[in-house]
């Protein structure tokens, strides 16, 4: 394999040419988005169908796959690239649409209704009326830095990554820069850790770099456990080499020769893609000994998590890699001084690492111009919940929540009323409508009682009960607390018990104050980040939605109609026309009535499953 080793800039340029030919081949190329989000909506079947159909119809083309383009709502996405023409992106493909698709490609036709957008402004548009990528509402306000290659290149192919200027930053670092210059450059750029706490990356590198010790480690934290958040997964699946390159640059700057990546085992696809990237990098001499003839050695090991949320906390993560019981330990000493195996260790999140090569390539000035005064650059959010366009978005810091929810997210499902958005996963807080014009950055989110977190963003509409939301997140944290320290283990459980009682209609007036008191104790006294942030959902929902708590406790009513013990279903006599549609879905036969006559609902039989509510087309089922 020695001839494929990359040693000089010319070798890189050569591979770049090769990669460009792969991305934009001389014949038609069909590429399917095959990240986990795509596969779960049937991308694998689509890919299979396309390869069969291509053979059947004898179409001369290249088949490829790519990562997630971010618009997960409309997966599976299929790209069709013809030489000299803009790329066409079809959304919501399924295997039964494939024969028509291939026939269309053969006949140089484009199916208008299926199209999401066309990419490549330099060419004249293939179809009028179909927006270019940058003009689609979902993408218009986004700025892709970490996700720059996701959905554009084949993650299995190192040449395609190099074609997008991959590993050029590494070459620049290893041949032209001293480690200290690299650290300074990252510090100047103002990049902050994307894992949640937002510590300045340059400063962290500097501390680890100046720690005493010959052996140092770097770790990539890919133990992404927040419900509804999948930024790291998409990055690892769509562009593993960018993370790897970031780690290589970081290792050189810090003085580490071994790196670990801790991926949760629930991300099998991400592990496969990353391992493959490591293998390719090794084959090309970008990992191993004497990279680019600079004397710099580096190896990467992949560790799989075993399903504990708390392992995202750095000391717990280190304990897990060491093979011990994965619980946090008190800091100091911080990992930068004494981490893995007692050696100075630098831990950064996947997204942080992916940002590094771009900063080196384009310069600290360029990066620090994006974003707000204290939060530079962009942040990837996974916008999920009750919005029209769910997916992965990368936006510059300082964008308002309104822009994310309404412009990018396309507003609330079924034109319902917006109620709150939960940022930062289970440890974040719920931000109400009154603060929807809040610019999103580390400081502003913390000010209102939430946090940036790793980038989960759950949008809630008027049909969401905030007490129930707080209960849900606490139940998650109760289960995931390691149980080492008393406030986290017992405090969360007690809070959840109280919330349970409130939802059951057994709440007392003193409960709100008691909740606040426990929440503050848990926040102040817990050992690690999990406990210290666990009360955020409770504190923010009480702060912004206190009336909902009071409604539950005093009037024994759930305004959103969610808490089962506080609601009852009934039939509106004026609206019911006796169509009988609700009778069949009812699992307990609680609804009876003759055709075309008013139906009746037996309260004793009703289990409040909501099946009738969803079936009725005339809004005649009332939830009280």
């Amino acid at each position: 394999m020695s001839n494929s080793k990359i040693v000089t800039l010319d070798d890189l340029e050569l591979l770049k040419e090769k990669g460009l030919n792969l991305i934009y081949p001389t014949k038609t190329k069909i590429s399917v988005g095959m990240a986990t989000c795509g596969i779960s909506t049937g991308a694998r079947e689509v890919f299979q169908a396309i390869s069969e159909e291509v053979q059947n119809q004898k179409l001369d083309c290249v088949l490829s796959q790519t990562g997630c383009l971010g618009f997960c709502q409309r997966e599976p996405l299929v790209d069709v690239i013809e030489p000299g023409k803009p790329k066409v992106v079809y959304a919501e493909m399924s295997y039964d649409k494939v024969p028509e698709l291939i026939t269309n490609i053969k006949n140089q036709k484009i199916k208008n209704e299926w199209m999401l957008c066309q990419i490549g402004e330099k060419y004249s548009p293939r179809l009028d009326g179909i927006p270019f990528y940058k003009d689609v509402d979902f993408y218009k306000k986004q700025k892709k830095i970490a996700l720059r290659n996701c959905g554009f290149i084949n993650p299995d192919c190192i040449e395609e990554y190099i074609a997008k200027r991959g590993y050029f930053a590494l070459h620049k670092v290893l041949t032209e820069m001293k480690p200290k210059e690299v650290v300074d450059m990252i510090a100047e750029s103002g990049l902050r850790g994307r894992g949640g706490a937002g510590f300045l990356t340059g400063k962290k590198w500097q501390i680890t770099r100046s720690s005493k010790g010959k052996i140092k480690y770097i770790i990539c934290n890919a133990d992404e456990g927040d419900p509804g958040a999948y930024m790291d997964r998409s990055l690892l699946e769509g562009d593993p080499h960018s993370v790897l390159e970031g780690m290589l640059i970081g290792a050189y700057a810090i003085g580490a020769s071994t790196g670990y990546i801790y991926v949760r085992a629930e991300y099998p696809q991400a592990i496969v893609k990353f391992l493959q990237a490591v293998k390719q990098a090794e084959e090309h001499g970008l990992l191993g000994k004497d990279i680019f003839n600079s004397g710099f050695n580096f190896e990467v090991r992949v560790n799989k998590g075993a399903g504990a949320f708390v392992c995202g906390e750095e000391t717990a993560l280190i304990a897990s890699i060491e093979g011990g019981w994965s619980g946090p330990r008190p800091r100091p000493p911080f990992p930068a001084k004494s981490g893995l195996w007692g050696k100075p260790t630098n831990i950064n999140n996947v997204e942080t690492w992916a940002n590094v090569p771009v900063i080196i390539d384009k310069g600290a000035d360029w990066y620090s111009k994006i974003g707000t005064e204290k939060s530079k650059g962009t942040k990837v959010f996974s916008v999920v919940g009750k919005v029209n366009n769910t997916g992965l978005v990368e936006v510059p810091m300082g964008i308002t929540l309104r822009e994310i929810v309404y412009d990018i997210g396309g507003g609330i499902l079924d034109n319902r009323k917006f109620k709150a958005v939960q940022t930062g996963g289970p440890s974040g807080g719920c931000i109400p409508e009154s603060l929807i014009d809040l610019p999103v950055d580390f400081e502003k989110l913390t000010e209102v009682g939430s946090m940036m977190g790793s980038g989960g963003m759950i949008v809630m509409d008027e049909n969401t009960c905030m007490v129930d939301v707080a209960k849900y997140f606490l139940a998650f944290l109760e289960d995931e607390s390691c149980g080492k320290c008393v406030p986290c283990r017992e405090g969360i459980e007690k809070m959840r018990e109280i919330l349970n009682n409130i939802c059951k209609g057994e709440g007392e007036e003193a409960d709100i104050e008691l909740l606040e008191e426990i929440a503050l104790t848990v926040k102040e006294m817990s050992l690690c980040g999990l406990g210290q942030t666990a009360s955020n959902p409770v504190l923010t929902t009480i702060k912004y939605f206190r009336n909902e708590y009071e409604e539950h406790i005093i009037n024994k009513r759930c305004p959103a109609g969610v808490c089962l013990d506080l609601i009852s279903y009934s039939i509106d006599a004026e609206k019911c026309n006796g169509c009988g549609a609700c009778v069949r879905p009812c699992p307990t036969q609680a609804i009876t009535g003759e055709k075309k006559k008013l139906h009746s609902l037996d309260q004793e039989k009703c289990i409040k499953c909501g099946a009738c509510y969803e079936t009725c087309k005339f809004d005649s089922i009332i939830i009280k």
Partner: protein, 236 residues
């Protein structure tokens, strides 16, 4: 030697000490539960929390694990510390109301009611037994199982461990299951007997005289003194 500011006074402490060790050296009482001089610090019970830092940027840290550093500002008795500590004791009583050690702490810090459902589990997972077995007895016969609220201490696979030599170290050190408090009230779960009883011998604490000595100090004498002062004031 380095200098720290401890409750407003500048004191010299040995490098490498923890805040707790410094406090002990200067005679400042800090309650602990999962801490034992002969074992590695654990930082789980959070009773020994102190407030560090000056100005607006203060935070609570466990003094048993936090090493002293030059110029560190430590306050051991701020309102924040005391209030959160009370809540901590309240939480602990709700798990193990029969532990005399915890009931004594409750009396000492004025916790007079428990507002939570009582679980009566008797183990507060302080980990002392696990650590004494591993670190002092070289046994490694017991350890933690599960996580979160399901966490418990047991032998591997819940069967008699071959490593266990029945030395009894774990029982000796346990703050919850060995010293039984007889007095928890069924409705409030707190005992507070020491707070209400008429003290007989408690003007000054004296190891040889104290009838509670074997069981551990109940802390009444400390409280009793202040109350006497109050009655004196009233009389005047």
């Amino acid at each position: 030697m380095i200098t720290i500011r401890l409750n407003g006074a500048e004191v010299r402490v040995e490098k490498g000490w923890t805040i707790l060790e410094a406090c002990k050296f200067y005679g400042i009482a800090i309650p602990t539960l999962c801490y034992n001089e002969g074992l590695s610090p654990y930082g789980g019970c959070r009773l020994c929390l102190v407030e560090i830092g000056g100005g607006l940027k203060t935070k609570l840290v466990s003094s048993c694990t936090y090493p002293v550093e030059e110029g560190l500002v430590v306050n051991t008795d701020t309102k924040r510390v005391i209030e959160t500590r009370r809540m901590m004791i309240e939480l602990m009583i709700s798990i193990a109301p029969n532990s005399k050690t915890i009931q004594d702490l409750a009396s000492k810090f004025g916790v007079t009611k428990v507002r939570f459902k009582i679980r009566n589990e008797e183990c507060i997972l302080c980990g002392l037994c696990v650590r004494i077995c591993r670190e002092q007895m070289d046994g490694k016969a017991i350890g933690f199982q599960n996580r979160g609220y399901k966490r418990k201490i047991s032998t591997p696979f819940d069967i008699r461990s071959e490593e266990c030599r029945l030395c009894g170290g774990c029982i000796y050190i346990c703050p919850a299951c060995q010293l039984r408090c007889q007095g928890p009230q069924p409705d409030t779960a707190v005992c507070n007997a020491c707070l209400t009883m008429d003290p007989t011998c408690l003007d000054h604490y004296d190891e040889l005289q104290c009838w509670m000595y074997d069981a551990g100090r109940c802390g009444t004498c400390v409280r009793e003194k202040t109350e006497k002062k109050k009655t004196m004031k009233n009389k005047l």
